[in-house]
Each structure stands twice: as structure tokens, then as C-alpha cells.
């Protein structure tokens, strides 16, 4: 901190952070102004203060937390399954031209398909309960992770593998001990996209058919025109996304200590 250059950098960082708050505060300000000037009836647009108060109340409410928990558990199960599948298939495809020859065209066909369209099929085959929602999360989150893994594994410097093989590592062990760690930066980028996608998809699935979860709360509030309660689940899912993204960012920082910084 005593280094003057360090101080200048910190103050620049602070200034940029303050700059970033401006549009957010501006939006809230416009929102407040619209309400204060009576441009929108409170039934359609409650005041920011009202929404904030309801958020704080709900975040301590066990029933609300139960719904948030349901969303979080579906999200976590789906995301982790997508991570295991995407990384597993990606690394296998990197190791075997045969697997790659099967995986690549499948991805070409399936990746651009809007997965929500598959949701009715999941409902019909897996039922209305958790399984179909988790399946949708997996279907949506697996492709960014798989694509990132494929791309990253294809760019692993072959000489890294050679160096390990010469040191006595078997081809299969080299896959786990060299290809996988060398692909990690790419995998984590894919995982980050997959995580946000999971957040979005689980919420949408709960909105379309559900009896619990944050998405259900939004639909329930919309049906009874409780506008304030419609804001709360939206703010909650945004907060959840930011929180999980932050956690992934921390994990990334630890896992990628040795890798050169990206752009």
C-alpha cells in the first residue's frame, strides 16, 4: 500500500468501480422518479424501497428460503452432472479419434437446437417432478462445457504430453495428469457459461411447470398480480447467479495460479 504506484492503481480501480455504479444508481433513480411523479400506478411498478423491503423480509422467510433451496439443489445437481459429462466426453474425444468422430457431428446437430423445446419431451418421459428439470439443465449446460473442453484439449501442446510420456507416464495416465490440467483454463471458461445457463434454465423450467422454486414464486405472484413479489425471485436468481459466479471465479484463481493471464 505504501508504494505510490500501488496507491494510484487502487484509486483508479475505485474510480472505475464508482463509475460502474452510476448506471445502476441511475436506473434505480429513474425508477424512483417514475413512481414518485405518479407516472406509473404502484400496482404496476412498486417503489424501489418497497421492493427492497420485501426482498429483505423474504430472504429471512423460511418458506421463501425453501423455494430458493429447491431451485439451488436442481441447479447444483444439473450443473455438476453437465460438468462431469461435458469434461468426461471432451477429454475422451481428445484421446480417441474414434470417439471424436462420433461426438463432433452429434454436437454439430444438437448444440444449435434450442433445448427448451425438448422440455415437453423430458416432461413426457421423466415426469413433472425434479428429473425433467434437471435433465433440461444438463441438456443446456453440457454443450458450452463440452465445446470448451474439446477446443481446449485440441490446443494442448503435444510436447507437454511427450515430456510426460518420456518420464514414464502411461498414455491413459497422461490424459488425467497432463491433458486434463492443461485443458483446465478452457474448461473453467466453459463451466462459467454453463453455470449462468443453468441458473437461467432452472428458473425458466420452474416457471413453465412447477409447484416450488423461485420460478414458481414468480408465476404465482404474476397470477395474483402481486407485482412486488414478482421482483423478489428475479432479484434472488440474479443474486444467486452472481454469488455462484463469484465462487467459481475464486476457484478459478486458485486452480489456475500457474497459468498465464488471459487478455
Amino acid at each position: 500500500m505504501s508504494d505510490p504506484r500501488e496507491r494510484i492503481r487502487v484509486s483508479a480501480r475505485l474510480r472505475e468501480g464508482a463509475l460502474g455504479l452510476l448506471p445502476i444508481l441511475g436506473l434505480v433513480g429513474i425508477w424512483q422518479a417514475v413512481v414518485s411523479l405518479g407516472l406509473a400506478p404502484p400496482a404496476l411498478l412498486p417503489a424501489p424501497g418497497t421492493v427492497l423491503a420485501r426482498c429483505l423480509a423474504q430472504f429471512a422467510n423460511p418458506e421463501f428460503l425453501g423455494h430458493a433451496g429447491a431451485t439451488l439443489s436442481r441447479l447444483a445437481v444439473g450443473f455438476l452432472a453437465a460438468l462431469v459429462l461435458g469434461v468426461g466426453i471432451g477429454i475422451l474425444a481428445a484421446a480417441s479419434p474414434g470417439v471424436l468422430a462420433v461426438v463432433r457431428p452429434l454436437v454439430r446437430v444438437l448444440a444449435p437446437v434450442p433445448k427448451v423445446a425438448l422440455y415437453p419431451a423430458f416432461i413426457l418421459t421423466l415426469g413433472f417432478a425434479d428429473a425433467s428439470k434437471i435433465a433440461l439443465v444438463v441438456a443446456d449446460a453440457v454443450f458450452p462445457i463440452l465445446l470448451a473442453t474439446l477446443q481446449g484439449a485440441a490446443m494442448v501442446e503435444p510436447k507437454l504430453v511427450w515430456a510426460a510420456r518420456a518420464a514414464g507416464t502411461s498414455p491413459r495416465a497422461a490424459l488425467l495428469r497432463v491433458v486434463l490440467p492443461a485443458t483446465l483454463p478452457s474448461i473453467l471458461t466453459g463451466a462459467r457459461i454453463g453455470l449462468v445457463v443453468s441458473c437461467i434454465v432452472v428458473f425458466l423450467a420452474e416457471m413453465i411447470t412447477s409447484t416450488d422454486g423461485l420460478g414458481y414464486l414468480l408465476v404465482r405472484a404474476a397470477r395474483s398480480f402481486q407485482t412486488v413479489d414478482m421482483f423478489v425471485p428475479l432479484i434472488a436468481i440474479s443474486g444467486l447467479g452472481l454469488l455462484l459466479n463469484g465462487a467459481l471465479g475464486l476457484a478459478r484463481g486458485r486452480l489456475l495460479r500457474g497459468f498465464p493471464e488471459e487478455g
Partner: protein, 258 residues
Amino acid sequence: MRRLPAGLPPLLALAGLLAAWEVASRFLALDGLPSVPATLAALPDLVADPDFARNLLASLRRMATGFCLALALALPAGLAMGRSRTVAALLNPLTMMVYPVPKAALMPLIMLWLGVGDLAKTLVIVLGVSLPVLYHAYQGARAVEEKMLWSAAAMGLSGPARAARVVLPAALPEILVGCRTGIVLALITMATSEMIARQSGIGAVLFNALDLAQYETVYAIILVIGALGVGLDVLFEGARARLVGWAGPPPALAPASA
């Protein structure tokens, strides 16, 4: 080993998927999983149905409008973020906050304000497409080499001319990655918002068929939406190859989702 024609492996993959579906429907014998021939038989009726065609066209119109509006808004903003630290600092936190919000989930609120018409559905699509376009335009403009701009300035190009004639083309490959994600997102947001609002459009038709237990129709619509996704992607990839052939092969497949 001889090389297979480029289009063949995806077709084989499609055939494999259909075969897997057929096997699953025979072995599971679920009501909710009709056989492939039964589904394919439902396709002609579906496509010939004027009501379905009307809904599909309405969906596509909203999608195209939303996509173009998003492009017009997000592209300049993204390029400005890439070339100015101040603009980037200004907009970054806001985009971070909005990123994990499911745009289609804003449907109920927006419907409350704007009614159930085209306006609400198009606005949701604009919101959904804007973020990836913004992000990729930002990344693309940020990566433009400073020395390229110096050379352009030395040749006497003014600021706006540099933006249009150096930054834009140099960032184009990355921008197109964003557009590709944007197209798939437009399709997804469109279908989802219709599933939630259930007024018109292909997403609404899909869930109405589900409610009426017309399972063959449900699967036929899924096939149509899937084909739409793949078709748009193939078209876009063709256009991309023409526009930025100089930038080499595509940077893998754009991880498009949500």
C-alpha cells in the same frame, strides 16, 4: 483414409439420434414417447395447418425484429466499451448483474406493463440477444491491435473513420461469434416467452399440444424447432465463412445457450 464429405457426418449423427429414439420408444413403451414413424407422419399435417404456419411466421417475425434491434443497440455500445476504459467501467457492472437473469422470465412483468402483444415479446428477445452481442463486440474491439490504429491515424483517418474502417472489420470475427450465440438465444427466448405467455407463437402451440395430450404433434413441433435452430446455424455459418474467410476457421462452435 479417405475424407467423408463435410455434410455427411452430421446427417449420420441425425440418423443415429433418430435410431436411438426409435429403440427407446420400443423398449420403454411409454405413452409419452411415440415412435419415430408416428411422429414423422404427424409432420405433414402440422406443416400444412394454416394456423401453425401463422404462429410460426409470427414467431419468426418477432425473432428477426428483436435480433436486428438488439444488434443496432448492442453493437455500438460493445465497440465503445472495447475502445474506451471509461465506457467499459461504466457498463461492465450492469451487464454482470443482468447476465444471470433469465430474460424470458421478465415476460410476466413486461406483459403487465406493455400488454400481451408483439411489443412485450419482441422486447424480451431484444434483451436476450443484446448481452452476447455486447460482450463479443466488447472483446473483439478490445483485442484490436493498437499499432493498427496508429497506422490508420498516420494515414490520416479521423476517429470515426478509424472506428468504422479499422475497429469494426478487425472485431468482425468476434462480433459474428456473438451474433451466432445471439441467433440461438433469440430462438430460445422467443420459444420460452411464448411458453410462458401462451398467447401465440410456436412455443404456445407446443405446450397447448402437450396439454391436449397430442404427443405425436408435440414431438413433431420439437423437430421443427430443432430444425429451425440447426438451419439458422448452418445458414449463419455459411455467411460467416464468406464475410470473414480471412480470419481462418471458426473458433469452434459458439457456446450458445439459454
